[in-house]
Symmetry: C2
Subunit: 253 residues, 2 copies
């Protein structure tokens, strides 16, 4: 995380950098030096403008740079605040998907808020993953927000085969998916997963209370039980400022 780059001599040589970059880099250095501490308020946009001798528009651009880097957040009517953050670490391997257990172990109260739970005709990719007939199959489509201590940290989108969704309609809308299945004696034994990262679009930025474009970790999965029978599939989009995934791998040689 040390920086030194292109420009050999660090200070003063603004050297073609736009003002909003120069300013946001200065503020960033001050934050990282502990001059402004997590949770602390920065000077107002007006004061920063005076201090750096630039217009408010340029200060706002600089602050936007800091927001995009996750260094500060703004609150209308209150001010600009240094973000403080701690990450929740999800193990990629066993136990899989037990988000609620992971949250509890790391000191958070986990809960979900179901946004949608409805029967719909299966999208092609879902039908394929769940090995259902692609034309006629119906699936339950659920979207829910995952909270850790009242902070929305993720959005889970799942597709359940009709029978499963029907029998667990109430429970799936109240609790975490994996735990709900476990409580009903349904044990998963395999998974196909992929991880990627995408910028938050407008809809997601509203749901997860993050700025547009913030990185989200996308955990795609198809879960299996029995003898390679698909149980359900879906994805969870996590705020990357709150989460990371860990894994230990042995190479078979």
């Amino acid at each position: 995380m040390t920086s030194s780059f292109m420009v050999p001599s660090e200070p003063s040589t603004t050297a073609k950098q736009p003002l909003h970059i120069v300013i946001s880099e200065k503020l960033k250095a001050q934050i990282e030096a502990g001059q402004y501490k997590p949770g602390q308020r920065l000077p107002s946009e007006y004061d920063l403008g005076e201090k750096f001798g630039v217009s408010r528009t340029t200060i706002r651009r600089a602050v936007a740079n800091l927001i995009q880097q996750g260094l500060v957040t703004t609150q209308q009517g209150k001010g600009i605040f240094v973000s403080d953050r701690r990450k929740i670490s999800f193990p990629m391997s066993n136990p899989l998907m037990q988000f609620d257990v992971v949250l509890r172990e790391q000191g958070y109260a986990g809960r979900i808020h179901s946004l949608r739970f409805q029967l719909t005709s299966a999208p092609a990719d879902v039908a394929c993953k769940l090995k259902l007939p692609s034309q006629t199959a119906q699936v339950y489509w659920q979207e829910k927000i995952i909270y850790a201590d009242d902070a929305p940290i993720g959005l889970e989108v799942d597709y359940f085969p009709e029978a499963l969704g029907h029998s667990l309609t109430d429970q799936l809308q109240q609790g975490f998916t994996y735990s709900t299945l476990a409580m009903n004696g349904m044990t998963l034994n395999a998974a196909k997963v992929s991880l990627e990262s995408v910028p938050a679009n407008y809809e997601l930025s509203e749901y997860l209370a993050v700025p547009l474009g913030m990185p989200l970790l996308v955990f795609n999965y198809v879960m299996y039980w029995g003898k390679h029978a698909p149980a359900f599939c879906g994805k969870t989009l996590f705020r990357s400022d709150w989460t990371c995934y860990t894994s230990e791998i042995e190479i078979s040689t």
Copy 2:
């Protein structure tokens, strides 16, 4: 990826949304509807301003929203272009870290450009990971950019124990890490990895040619050989618009 949200009736009811959001959402819809195709140029900022009846500043804000979502890129003097993209999929499991092989298999010419290769005193966390004495140890510190077909897709930062770095100084600056070791008969047999996502800071945004704040997938690793002896450690930051990780997991029950 369908949208429907808070506002029950979709069209016209701008309903409190800022203009720059309304406009960027309209443009986004047009792009996703194929009205503007990948690679194609959008109207100029001036023309968009005329079309939507707003100032250029507001158009620029709307375009910034699209850039942050990875939907368009801009080129000074030329215009605004719809991005087209295909993802490189890296398997998280065996074979680990063979980036060059993965790239070749998926039709890209992979190469690296070494930015730094120097002896330095080991940072505390590196000394710990490599099981070196934390006060005295020296390590080789390498930073290199990974290219796929001339597009910079990642930045790799590695720390090698002194002896290893010394003996492979030339080769490590020319080729991919894993392959260099393999060519010298050094076989890795275990790894401890974690994955997270972070927004690009200014330095990274310059190296990887992405906008400030773009999501990067961070692949952290400690690689081992022999009997749990650390070989080297480091991290690779990948552009998330180019890459994803996949994995298959069996749960031991």
